[in-house]
Amino acid sequence: MALLQVKKVTRYFKGLAALHEVDLEVFPGEILGIIGPNGAGKTTLFNLVTGFLQPSSGKILFKGEDITGLRPEKIAAKGLLRTFQVTSLYGHLSAVQNLMVAHHLQEKMGFWATLFNTASYRNREKHYWEKSQEMLRTFAAEIKMEAPADSLPHGHQQSLGLLMPLAANPELLMLDEPVTGMNLDETTAMVDRIKRVRDSGVTIVLVEHNMKTVMGICDRIVVLSYGTKIAEGSPSEIKRNEQVIEAYLGSEE
């Protein structure tokens, strides 16, 4: 059964349809790529699925449950998480502290336990601090743990940006342009990281402009253009699809 179902989702911005009756399904354990020229509606789709925007019409189901119109934190609590296009981190906090915050869904922080600094509070903090350090060592050992996040080089920030939603234990992770701005080495490392995340049991949907990356990592690809889905299939099918080629060659890409 599909993990995520997007059913005839439409979103208007002042009379213009950013997305028009888009149907989409994401199956457990796959890496789905969403591509399309600029303005095709990819980020709008992301925002609709993750609760940052309400659809004008249509339904979104996650694990069979209707999540249309729910607030982002409620959707995240159900196991659907995302990254942002402009790498969103807590700049003044260190990498470890960033992950500590990201663990919020798992760390049940009680008000009174915190206020009185009980043993259970201290143990929980210590546990997640060690877990955060462990995550960094496993997935992104090159990041300086104690340095403020906004002082890290761009590639490290992107990597940390990927780790943040991971700390919240997602079943479905939506990545918004994960390798944008990276050089070849960083891209290869990131792709490897994404594959490892998928292998650990997380389903992945990603939006990306880097065709080589998309073709190389995705099991299936969906192509959007001017707010509608124009093609869907395996990477080799999409490469040969005439409409897709026209959509890309015809635009200012």
Partner: protein
Amino acid sequence: MGYLECRMSSISAGNWRKPCTLAMLAFLLIIFPAVIPDPSYLGMLVTCGIASILAMSWIMILRVGHLSLGQVAFLAIGAYSSAIAATKFDLSPWLGLILGGFITAGFALAIGYVVLRIRGLYFAIMTFAFAEVIRLGISNSKFMGGVEGISGIPELNLIDLPGLAIIKFDSTVACYYVMLFLVGGTALALWRIDHSGLGRTCRAIAMNEDLSQSLGIPVFRYKLMSFVVACFFAGVGGAFSAHYYRCLDPTSFTVTASIIVQIQATVGGAGAIVAGGILGATLITIVDHFLISIDPRLIIFFMGAIILAVTFFLPEGVVSLPRILKNYGLKVGSWFHS
């Protein structure tokens, strides 16, 4: 924040300086009335204490990313709750302190539920409006004493244990120690929250709300919690001020007073909730006190000048001064060595 901060500043890490300094300061404050029994000095410190509580509560709300321009409203609610309970319902002032806190927290819950959904400038305007509504509501209410206010509010100098004993203290000294207890309690609670995982999440929310939401953090719940807790303490401070000044009227709860709260906290250093709040409030209250005796108009000039000076030269507030001087000293020292 949270585990990291605790590790870095704990005694177990061998860092004795801060706890020792604090212990010394506490000792000095406790013996102060014995050393300098002059009630006017004690009175000024009490005023500083009330201002400190308010400044700390303002900073706590800032922590979740909201700028409140109406903190005096909560001071007023706490003050009037306790004053009315004492004068019209014969409630003991001591219980009035607690009542004031809870009633204010209730108001904060109600108003926060609506107003915390708005961000930035509009939140500030709404708190400003709320403060004015409270002030005008009190001015026009006969029950609350109207513009003339309430007078003859009982003092905090009696402990009445029915059937056992009645202990009476000297009023100003009693108030001084109660103030120390209240400021200490507020400081401890707010410091604890700010330095914990809760405080860390609050700062995260202030830094980036969208990211926090996407990580599953119940942003609104955190904002409401911070707001209600901060205003609870402001209410307790207000109730205390009612029993200290023994008379109350709405003209002391103007918007200017709310702005002064912000100036005090900013000058002290809004980054450090306890040190910045208490330092800023104390400094500004003392300077204002001296300026009033020379010429009241000097206060406006001084306030403007100090906020400009801090913005340009000490953006992190007076609390950052030791660190800056140390860095400056190191620089000067290196000139001598090279």
